[in-house]
């Protein structure tokens, strides 16, 4: 039997850009609400308003995890706040069945003057849990948080990591939700703690319907059974295949071309051969493990003897991941005399993690090392994979299963 816990039907929400107007609309809404009128009027936008969430619909059952992805301001958090009942939808209907837990504002209600121990009780009662309940689990919470002896220190003396840890521990040890909302909670820093959180979240998510907001595609890929991509409030894609959703998310980023250098060389074009076939798409989507060859056309101006070229692959955050110096047959830098050239550069197997990347080309004068041209964001491409892994390069290895060495020989008397 399908145990549907969340039903969202055509939910919309509008927000206002200016503060003054926003407050004034707030006052008007207040008046309307008190007269028993429906929130959000007739579905028209007032001046200066925009749709923060537009016509979102989905259903979620126990055991499912929906990942909400999109860039800042796409409406993910607003949707989550409506689901949590904090703000009212302007249109549509939300139905939630069962106990709701939210790992959103970790440590909300903490008072900096009071000790960690005192704050555990406060935080727990904000989450709707009784003192008796906390008493029984107090040690477990303190233990989980790894705060140790600092538990009786005022929270204002905690590092930011410590207070987040404490907040997370309180929530995670105490709640047993049917419906769980998570908003960027795993940005806690310390890797040891993150791993622990991941394991706990696995336990929590197994028995609940989860809505998960994150910018980390690794988390989305690992947790979610479904992905919804949002942009400017609209639902671009709702897919039961997280890899597809993640790919769509990366496709949202527009790459910009930026050229620097003296201008004595130009890149005329860059094409890709994927598994031997020309990919003419605007932004090719390449399956991980495909073999890729780059066709690079360039012009070098004279007079000079030679120019050298490099091809780089940068990720979305402009972090250089791959550097390919262009060599000749003798593994020396290839000499490019003045004139137009077409280079065929075999890059081999693409082992990059799922994500979005772009090519950068640099052309330098061979003698003076002066940069003639450097083109960033020349051509972007996406790597497609079922799973977003925790590494920039994904290189599976086939292991041999061998018998372990004899125990008697390794354990000495």
């Amino acid at each position: 039997m399908k145990d549907t816990l969340i039903k969202v039907d055509g939910v919309s929400k509008k927000f206002c850009r200016g503060l003054k107007k926003s407050l004034w609309y707030g006052l008007q809404d207040l008046g309307n609400e008190l007269r028993g009128r429906r929130h959000g009027g007739n579905g028209q936008l007032r001046a200066d308003e925009f749709w923060a969430v537009r016509d979102a619909s989905f259903e979620l059952s126990r055991g499912e995890c929906l990942g909400l992805i999109g860039h800042n301001g796409a409406g993910k958090t607003t949707l989550l706040r409506m689901l949590n009942g904090l703000i009212k939808p302007d249109q549509g209907r939300i139905e939630i069945r069962g106990k709701v837990g939210a790992l959103i504002a970790l440590g909300a209600g903490f008072n900096p003057i009071l000790t960690g121990r005192e704050n555990i009780y406060i935080n727990a009662s904000v989450l709707g849990l009784s003192k008796r309940h906390v008493d029984a689990k107090l040690d477990e919470i303190i233990d989980y948080s790894e705060i140790g002896e600092f538990i009786d220190t005022p929270v204002q003396n905690y590092s930011s990591g410590m207070s987040v840890r404490l907040g997370f521990s309180v929530a995670v040890v105490l709640i047993e939700p049917d419906v769980l909302f998570l908003d960027e909670v795993l940005a806690v820093g310390d890797i040891g703690f993150v791993i622990k959180c991941l394991n706990t979240m696995r336990r929590l998510t197994a028995n609940s319907a989860v809505v998960f907001v994150s910018h980390s595609m690794q988390f989305i890929s690992w947790f979610c059974t479904r992905v919804m991509v949002m942009k400017h409030g609209a639902t671009l894609l709702d897919s039961p295949n997280p890899a597809e959703g993640i790919d769509r998310y990366f496709a949202l980023v527009k790459h910009e071309q930026q050229t620097s250098g003296t201008g004595d060389a130009r890149v005329l074009g860059l094409d890709l051969l994927v598994n031997g076939e020309m990919d003419t798409g605007e932004e090719p989507s390449i399956h991980q493990g495909s073999s890729v060859t780059v066709l690079l056309r360039m012009q070098v101006d004279g007079p000079r003897a030679c120019a050298h070229a490099w091809l780089y692959i940068h990720d979305e955050a402009k972090l250089p991941l791959v550097c390919t110096p262009i060599h000749d047959a003798y593994s020396q830098m290839l000499c490019l005399p003045p004139g137009e050239h077409l280079l065929e550069i075999p890059l081999g197997i693409i082992e990059l993690n799922a994500g979005k990347y772009n090519f950068v080309v640099a052309i330098l004068d061979a003698n003076t090392s002066i940069v003639l041209a450097r083109v960033e964001g020349l051509r972007s491409f996406r790597v497609l994979s079922d799973q977003t892994q925790w590494g920039n390069i994904v290189r599976p290895a086939k292991a041999q299963l061998r018998a372990p060495p004899n125990k008697a020989s390794t354990v000495s008397g």
Binding site: F15, S22, L23, G26, L27, D29, L30, N32, E33, L34, R35, G36, R37, R38, H39, G40, T77, T78, R81, M82, L83, N84, G85, L86, I87, K88, P89, D90, Q91, G92, R93, I94, E95, I96, R97, G98, K99, V100, A102, I104, A105, A108, G109, N111, I113, L114, E118, Y121, I122, S125, V126, L127, G128, S130, K131, D178
Partner: protein
């Protein structure tokens, strides 16, 4: 096994289903009791842990007010009419009672404002904030009353059995204060003007109530004093404390009944306003 709770959020106003709304209001009020208590303990502890003078702060302001007015009248700068009670007792009880009313009145807006961060991110019974405000007012009132009664005994006042009714006077001050405070909270959360204007307005109202001045006997001032619904509250509470039989008991009861009705109405308004206010707060 009990049925899992179903929450439905739509754009309809809760007023369209009043029975359900009232049921939810009392359910949330009941659910909020532990949280309200926790928040109270938190705020009181934090407040006094960080203050050198500790609980003195609960009555320093009315005490200073009293001293000022005693000085003003003794020095003849302000001529205060005849009071049945010795003037220092009159002004001391008056300012203490007024301070309790003010506490109750500012509490809802202050509590809600202080909880902005929580409100914007977590769903908890919002009633807890109001109840916690009432608890804190009661706590501070307790300190004031202890001081007040101590001072009266020192000054040789014997209030008699009527003093047993005095807590009713305090409760009605808190009731009226909370009702008015809750009334202004929704707008006060949007516009800070409200929070700033309140002390100013109350300062003015204080001089129209028998707090430091006795009731004028005649003229337009007497009418103003009589119209002011705070007058019977202050007078009745003071009469009970000092052993007089209250003069305006009927008016007192009327004001309380009205305040109770107002409180219920503004409670509804507060609940309805919350999502709208949170929407306008930063996330």
């Amino acid at each position: 096994m009990n049925e899992p709770a179903i929450s439905v959020y739509t754009s309809d106003s809760s007023l369209s289903n009043p029975f359900k709304m009232v049921r939810e209001m009392f359910r949330d009020l009941f659910a909020s009791r532990e949280l309200a208590w926790r928040l109270t303990v938190r705020d009181i502890r934090a407040q006094y842990r960080q203050a050198f003078l500790g609980i003195l702060w609960a009555f320093i302001l009315p005490l200073a007010n009293t001293v000022t007015w005693i000085f003003l009248s003794r020095a003849g700068i302000v001529s205060v009419g005849e009071t049945v009670l010795p003037y220092p007792i009159y002004v001391f009880t008056g300012t203490m009672l007024w301070a309790i009313l003010m506490d109750a009145m500012t509490a809802p807006l202050q509590q809600t404002n202080a909880a902005r961060g929580m409100l914007a991110k977590l769903n908890f019974p919002r009633e807890a904030l109001v109840v916690s405000g009432i608890y804190q007012t009661l706590f501070n009132a307790g300190i004031k009353i202890a001081l007040l009664i101590g001072a009266l005994i020192l000054l040789g006042m014997n209030p008699g059995w009527n003093v047993l009714l005095f807590p009713l006077g305090i409760l009605s001050l808190i009731l009226v204060g909370t009702a008015i405070g809750l009334l202004i909270t929704p707008v006060g959360m949007l516009y800070t003007d409200v929070g700033r204007a309140l002390p100013l307005l109350m300062q003015f109202l204080m001089y129209l109530s028998p707090v430091v001045f006795p009731m004028p006997k005649e003229g337009w001032a007497a009418t103003l004093f009589m119209i002011n619904p705070l007058t019977p509250l202050i007078l009745t509470a003071r009469d009970w404390l000092t052993g007089f039989s209250p003069e305006f008991l009927g008016y007192f009861l009327l004001v309380n009944a009205a305040a109770l009705a107002l409180l219920l109405a503004v409670w509804v308004a507060y609940r309805l306003a919350m999502p709208i206010l949170i929407e306008r707060m930063s996330a």
